[in-house]
């Protein structure tokens, strides 16, 4: 789950990482209230999960209440690269001496955590990596050992942070590592990490991606839900716990396993069709899950045929078949189904489908993935 900046800052605050005083606002009046609480001057910042909001006019400085009204009015509802701004974050403006960059993420190749620290913050780290790679200090951290304050301090020195910034930066880095690990982040990034004229160091922005798998031990994440941008189909799928991604084609896809689902998209594409979605019903899906998946696909008007590609392992063929029969009793499917069923209990599954007596213009069985793809694509065109 990607957090909005204000959610990231709220998350940072839980780990005692200093952020500017401020609050979220969905209306101009709320923005004024938050500005009055924070104290002027303030910055009004569009809350969208897309880069380049500053250039688009989504970040504005306001010296007084009138300016807050004007800017919040302009920014709320603004379209930034297809993302409509529904919320702004209003915070006390900071005096900035210097801007740094720090982040933690998992380096999959090294199987260790990776800290990146740079004196050149406030710009995209990819740009720094390209133009001045020596300006980024990279440190691998063994998760068993964790990150010590000494290591963090050495990194600050290596990154050539000025002496007066080192104590503050070290402290924040250690806290950010705690947030990243205990807070189960896939990514915890501060860009920019600022040094104020007073010598204080604090987080001016927050980019946090939470690891969805860790949700069971973070009841506090409940607060972050609900604002994520999803289309209706994606919302419906999320409610049914399905891995769904909406695409633009005409062949609805249901498969078990991410690899097979991706492969199904590939095959449909190769035989001249296009997929309407990616939908992985996961391992061990039962009849109910299959019925739910069909409902999601059925809600997509673009879908002209449905390709169900199942290779049973943990998923059992008879459950898949039962789900299809159940779904066809529950909803009127707008498009015909082409199914390819193999693996665990595939025989039983095929028998259940036969016994259900579904007419061939509603459901067809094909022996291989390629055959099924060809039939589904032919039906969709």
């Amino acid at each position: 789950m990607d957090l909005f900046e204000y959610q990231g800052k709220q998350y940072f605050a839980r780990y005692d990482i200093p952020v500017s005083p401020g609050g979220p606002a969905d209306t101009v009046d709320e923005a004024v209230r938050e500005a009055n609480n924070a104290g002027y001057p303030v910055v009004v910042k569009a809350q969208v999960q897309v880069g380049g909001r500053g250039k688009a006019g989504g970040i504005q400085l306001a010296d007084d209440e009138a300016a807050v009204r004007e800017h919040a009015g302009n920014i709320l509802g603004m379209d930034i690269k297809g993302h409509v701004v529904k919320r702004v974050w209003v915070e006390r403006a900071s005096d900035i001496d210097e801007e740094y960059y720090v982040s933690f993420t998992l380096d999959r190749a090294e199987k260790k955590h990776l800290m990146m620290l740079s004196r050149e913050g406030g710009v995209e780290i990819e740009v720094v990596a390209e133009e001045n790679p020596d300006a980024i200090v990279k440190i691998h951290i063994d998760p068993v050992d964790g990150l010590s304050a000494e290591t963090a301090r050495t990194a600050c020195t290596d990154a050539a942070l000025p002496e007066r910034a080192i104590d503050g930066a070290t402290e924040i880095i250690v806290k950010l590592y705690r947030c990243y690990t205990e807070g189960d982040c896939d990514l915890a990034e501060i860009n920019p990490l600022i040094l104020k004229p007073t010598g204080e160091v604090h987080a001016l922005d927050a980019k946090v991606t939470l690891d969805d798998s860790a949700e069971f031990r973070h009841p506090e994440w409940e607060d972050f839900k609900g604002l994520t941008v999803m289309d209706d189909r994606e919302k419906m799928a999320a409610e049914k716990d399905l891995q769904y991604i909406g695409l633009d084609g005409t062949v609805g896809i249901i498969a078990n396993g991410a690899g097979l689902a991706m492969s199904t998209l590939d095959v449909v594409n190769q035989v001249g069709g296009s997929a309407a979605n990616f939908l992985d019903i996961g391992g061990g899906a039962n009849a109910d899950v299959m019925a739910g998946a069909l409902e999601v696909i059925n809600s997509d008007d673009k879908v002209k045929s449905i390709f169900i590609n199942i290779f049973g392992g943990i998923t059992r063929g008879e459950e898949v078949a039962k789900g299809i029969v159940e779904a066809m009793g529950r909803v009127v499917l707008k498009a015909p189904i082409v199914i390819r069923l193999d693996g665990t209990n595939a025989e039983e599954g095929r028998q259940i489908l036969l016994d259900a007596g579904i007419p061939e213009d509603k459901l067809r069985s094909e022996p291989t993935m390629l055959d099924a793809a060809r039939t589904a694509v032919a039906l969709a065109s």
Partner: protein, 298 residues
């Protein structure tokens, strides 16, 4: 021969009293795998279909001489189960659990490497391993795997995706090609066993004559494998990379499967493998056809 597991492997099922553990554990036994015990804390002394249950892995190892374990436990207990098996001296742990937090995975991997270098973890979030005719640990339907022949040629399979693993087995079975061992390494960010570990074993396995590798978008494991193949693998190979048509920036189900910042694309991986001399198919069936050609030429 086979890699990692064979007819002498004695398997414990951690979580044999649970739904998934029981279903797949018993199927593994029915396939012919030596399933010698189950482990569920607090249920020691019970039996599941004649298989004794123990309170701890240590107890089970002492009583049965088990040398492998099948961890079929929920995400929040998975890291603990893996480390418990390692502490009890188990040399090969298969963890099928999906949805283990990445932090737990990273910590467990490094803990194993440091404190239990003799324990190999396969997974998590993987379908397991099958040495056809000898041993099947995990969730693979054994009947889709073709037994190897004494003289070969036999193929070793390694795959990052569960269902694609089955698809690969099936493609070879359709063509009557025997399989030495099929390893599903799983699609999570920190797999205990990676492509290179398996490629090295297959290269040294006298029963394996060719290798089929199934990858997917995201990360750089396939590119690293390609480098290894170039330098170390002399056996012929075919491959398929899932996700040619995947849009950038969208996580395709697996935590690992995402194209980000132009990295981890299927095309990049296919190019790297082709450059290393691997025959790359555009779908699993094509990879199977290519393997059939490779085998016919041996």
């Amino acid at each position: 021969m086979a890699i990692f597991v064979d007819e002498n492997t004695k398997v414990l099922v951690q979580g044999l009293t649970g739904g998934q553990g029981k279903y797949h554990g018993l199927r593994n036994r029915d396939y012919g795998t030596k399933v010698v015990g189950g482990v569920t804390p607090g249920k020691g002394g019970q039996e599941v279909d004649g298989i004794p249950i123990f309170n701890s892995v240590a107890d089970a190892v002492e009583a049965t001489g088990a040398n492998a374990s099948f961890a079929a436990v929920p995400p929040k207990f998975a890291a603990g189960a893996i480390l418990e098996a390692a502490e009890a001296g188990i040399g090969f742990v298969v963890c099928i659990t999906e949805g283990i937090p990445a932090q737990d995975e990273a910590t467990t991997f490094n803990r194993l490497q440091r404190d239990f270098p003799n324990t190999r973890l396969l997974g998590p979030n993987c379908p397991g391993i099958i040495s056809p005719g000898k041993c099947n640990i995990g969730i693979t339907a054994g009947e889709i795997a073709q037994n190897p022949t004494a003289d070969g040629p036999n193929v070793g399979i390694v795959s990052r995706s569960g269902t694609l693993t089955y698809q690969a087995l099936y493609e070879l079975k359709q063509r009557g090609i025997g399989v030495s061992t099929c390893v599903g390494i799983g699609g999570d960010p920190v797999p205990g066993t990676n492509f290179i570990d398996c490629l090295a074993e297959f290269q040294n396995d006298s029963e394996t004559h060719a290798i089929m590798m199934l990858g997917e978008i995201g990360g750089s494991a396939e590119e690293e494998a390609a480098e290894f193949i170039q330098a170390n693998v002399t056996k012929p190979m075919s491959s398929y990379i899932a996700g040619v048509t995947a849009p950038a920036g969208k996580k395709m189900g697996h935590a690992g499967a995402i194209v980000s910042g132009g990295k981890g694309t299927a095309q990049g991986k296919m190019d790297a493998l082709t450059a290393a001399g691997v025959k790359v198919g555009l779908n699993p069936t094509e990879a199977g056809e290519l393997m059939a050609e490779v085998v016919a030429a041996l």
